[in-house]
Amino acid sequence: EPEVTQTPSHQVTQMGQEVILRCVPISNHLYFYWYRQILGQKVEFLVSFYNNEISEKSEIFDDQFSVERPDGSNFTLKIRSTKLEDSAMYFCASRNQRNSPLHFGNGTRLTVT
């Protein structure tokens, strides 16, 4: 069964550094998402992306965050200047139709020191 893949599985970065989290959605999917889960807390929606543009974003997704689908297969989340509170598990997800369920990746654990 096709899967959403995320790399790396764990990334450690220093505060103030830029970080890019990478995702390869399932190939025929059209809708892409990032969610995050701070340790011990709820999974929170960050952003949705369709037709090469952001369709929705949450309050968390401020100017420090950006998403891109640079080459038709990868879907990236960039954090420009990381803060300690950005430490979390970041999940990428995709789906092929508007009413089909989300398929999540295994997540990238981001640790900001």
């Binding site: 969610y35 989300l102 999540f104 990746g105 295994n106 997540g107």
Partner: protein, 114 residues
């Protein structure tokens, strides 16, 4: 804004027994979707079951079934014949459509004991 509440942070069940995980939600929407996701130690979020609010019949997927009470805004998950592999965090989630912006509950950690 929608909220999802899971009142049981942790639960345990003996292998082969049945367990029910609770979830309540609050919304002013009339049509929406509800989901249960499983997160095993591997960290992947796996869809267990989903329910469309306009459908009165409770969804079932093999050993997993839901008790959807729309008026009470309750959406519990029943796991029958629990297996060791069911040990995981379980998240209840709400979506106005099937997943464009899901709101998750805080999760219930389920331990299945041999």
């Amino acid at each position: 804004a929608q909220t999802v509440t899971q009142s049981q942070p942790e639960m345990s069940v003996q292998e082969a027994e049945t367990v029910t995980l609770s979830c309540t939600y609050d919304t002013s929407e009339s049509n929406y979707y509800l989901f249960w996701y499983k997160q095993p130690p591997s960290r992947q979020m796996i869809l267990v079951i989903r329910q469309e609010a306009y459908k009165q019949q409770n969804a079932t997927e093999n050993r997993f079934s839901v008790n959807f009470q729309k008026a009470a805004k309750s959406f519990s998950l029943k796991i029958s014949d629990s297996q060791l592999g069911d040990t995981a965090m379980y998240f209840c989630a709400f979506g106005v459509d099937a997943g464009n912006m899901l709101t998750f509950g805080g999760g219930t950690r389920l331990m299945v004991k041999p």
